[in-house]
């Protein structure tokens, strides 16, 4: 049992109220606390070292994501979805795009589903690396943090190659993706995964059987199976409690039913189980990405066209002079920042639906129909117009089920966009995980729920 806090130390609220010198002390943790990543306030009532009651306050990072989505077109919300989960933004992009596609009732191409699968899994590895690394650092294992961030760096470089950005990637599009995978992606991914696997091996050796780490993690932050389900917690936390629910397996979408992989589970529901689940999932994610890349239809994108590659300016000139015969069949060399958006790539990664997807750049530059099509999708009041209705699409985010519920009123702007944040349920249950435990245990427990302020507060 803890020593009751002596009255002499009661400098705070309720001091000297004559309760016999024994009273619980109120301590506020956060909103900005150096040992916690994420802006959140936990008001605790402590008795010595033990937390008796906790109240979690969120909302410090609220940026009106759902409200902002209602003022722009459907594709205008893509950059906002990046900022929901800034560690694995690709999954958010794709989930939102897939929800709108479901509302429109269109199918994306096969190659696009494989690209989404590969990029989602790379993001998931990044997310788990960050979570495990940061929570290990908070327990004093700074080396692990540096190693894992090193591995994440390789993966982010990969993401940068594909999307052109490291964090705010905006790579998903309704009906497809922004551009095809770049040249040499497979080789780079192999290298990045090799490095990541080495790091994971090292971390396993450093942490998994480590006495100090286990003392802090085993049996701490436990949430029973029933409560986990009652609090609608999904993802690694649910699987650590013994329920093998994974949206990728339960309701397969994209290419998840075409590849071999396992859903790792543990049974104890404590911080250590969550750590083990995340470590095992990273390996599974890499397996999925490797298989999906190997099976990807369309093969590598051939940039050395057999036609006559011509300069875009000459192409536009010819179009202006009315020399349009066969012009649309002529490949052009696009500016490097449009790489992967030429027609050959476009056909493979985008849904063939003029009402939804911007035309390939050759068509936009080389024909009046293409230009009109482009503007019809870009101009305010036109754009993508799903029929009246509503749709909910869920995929497995890094922290659990990431769902988008989109309601359309038939105009070019979403009537309502709701993000089902995977982080909110664990935070709603956080007080159940920390009450009755020591105040020092708050840190690993908070690390293991992997709070992402962007999607929690939206």
């Amino acid at each position: 049992m803890a020593e009751p806090v002596r009255r002499d130390f009661m400098l705070g609220e309720g001091a000297g109220t004559g309760s016999g010198g024994q009273q619980n002390l109120h301590v506020g943790v956060g909103p900005a606390h150096p040992a916690m990543h994420g802006i959140i306030r936990i008001q605790t009532e402590i008795d010595g070292e033990f937390i008796r009651k906790a109240d979690v306050e969120i909302g410090y990072l609220h940026r009106a994501f759902e409200k902002d989505c209602e003022v722009g077109g459907y594709n205008n919300a893509i950059p906002y979805t990046d900022r929901l989960n800034y560690v694995s933004p690709l999954i958010n992009n794709f989930a939102y795009a897939a929800a709108v596609e479901k509302l429109l009732g269109i199918e994306v191409t096969e190659r696009c589903t494989f690209i989404r699968t590969v990029m989602s899994e790379i993001s998931r590895v990044c997310d788990h690396l960050t979570c495990v690394g940061a929570s290990a650092m908070e327990l004093g294992a700074f080396t692990v943090f540096l190693y894992m961030i090193k591995a994440r760096e390789y993966l982010w470089e990969l993401v940068e190659d594909v999307t052109g950005a490291r964090l705010t990637i905006s790579y998903g599009r309704v009906g497809g993706v922004k551009a095809d995978l770049p040249d040499g992606f497979a080789a780079k991914m192999t290298t990045a995964f090799k490095e990541t696997r080495e790091v994971l091996d090292e971390v396993h050796r450093l942490l998994t059987g480590n006495r100090i780490f286990m003392d802090r993690m085993v049996g701490v932050g436990v949430l029973s199976r029933e409560e986990t389900i009652g609090y609608a917690i999904t993802g690694p936390l649910l699987r650590a409690a013994g329920v093998g629910y994974d949206v990728r397996r339960a309701q397969p979408h994209w290419a998840y039913d075409r590849v071999q992989w396992e859903v790792p589970t543990q049974k104890d529901g404590d911080n250590y189980s969550r750590y083990l689940v995340r470590m095992a999932e990273m390996e599974q994610s890499m397996r999925i990405a490797e298989q999906a890349l190997a099976m990807m239809p369309g093969g590598p994108i051939n940039v050395d066209f057999e036609g006559r590659p011509i300069d875009p300016a000459a192409y536009v000139d010819q179009g202006k002079q009315g020399k349009t015969e066969g012009l649309l069949l002529v490949p052009i060399t696009l500016s490097p920042n449009l790489q992967g958006q030429n027609r050959a790539a476009w056909n493979q990664v985008n849904a063939h639906d003029k009402r939804v997807v911007l035309p390939p750049k050759e068509t936009t530059y080389g024909s009046i129909e293409g230009l009109m099509n482009h503007f019809m999708l870009i101009m305010e009041g036109y754009g993508i117009r799903p029929p009246l209705g509503e749709a909910y699409f869920a995929t497995e985010g890094a922290n659990g089920e990431l769902g988008f519920y989109v309601v359309s009123d038939g105009t070019d702007r979403p009537y309502r966009v709701r993000c089902r944040p995977p982080c909110l349920p664990p935070l709603a249950a956080l007080h159940r995980m920390i009450e009755g435990e020591q105040i020092a245990d708050l840190i690993p427990t908070f690390g293991s729920v992997n709070m992402i302020g962007g999607e929690l507060d939206r």
Partner: protein, 165 residues
């Protein structure tokens, strides 16, 4: 179970209390009367063939400016349920008017409803009767209005507040 079978099961059980059902884009949707909401949710959770043990999401939609709904009930409170055992989903909706925007709470059925309902109260001003602690979730106490209502302008400024006393 297929969406159609789920809806059939619920229509058989609740008959007249079912306002509407549809399966737009494959999402089985049931609209129930407010008085039957908690019974319907409890039935969904406890009936073994349905087995909806997870309240995956709870949100609301303000239909004030929706074509065909300008005069009708203003808010839809939307429950997305999922069954771990049966691996199926259903969406349950309940319609409420603006001047009587209150829905019975589901906290007794699922503890997560506590925070989800606080968020809906915060953003839409829909009251949940019987909720143990209906505070704002994302906004601060002094915030005026409910931000996700359609008549809340996106650029409205809020009065500045000082530190708490």
């Amino acid at each position: 179970m297929q969406g159609g079978q789920i809806l059939q099961r619920l229509r058989d059980r609740f008959g007249g209390a079912v306002v509407d059902t549809h399966e737009h884009r494959g999402d089985a949707t049931l609209v129930v009367d407010r008085g039957t909401l908690v019974d319907a949710l409890r039935f969904c959770r406890d009936e073994p063939t349905l087995g909806f043990d997870v309240l995956m999401d709870l949100t609301a939609v303000d239909y004030q400016r929706y074509p065909g709904r300008e005069d009708g009930p203003r808010f839809d409170v939307v429950y997305h349920l999922y069954s771990l055992a049966q691996n199926h989903r259903v969406r349950v909706k309940v319609r409420v008017d603006e001047d009587d925007a209150a829905v019975p709470t589901a906290v007794d059925l699922w503890p997560i409803a506590n925070w989800f309902e606080r968020e809906v109260w915060d953003m839409f001003g829909v009251h949940f009767s019987g909720h143990p602690d209906l505070r704002r979730l994302l906004m601060y106490e002094e915030f005026v209005g409910h931000a996700l209502r359609k008549d809340y302008p996106i650029n409205r400024r809020q009065p500045l507040i000082g530190p708490k006393q």
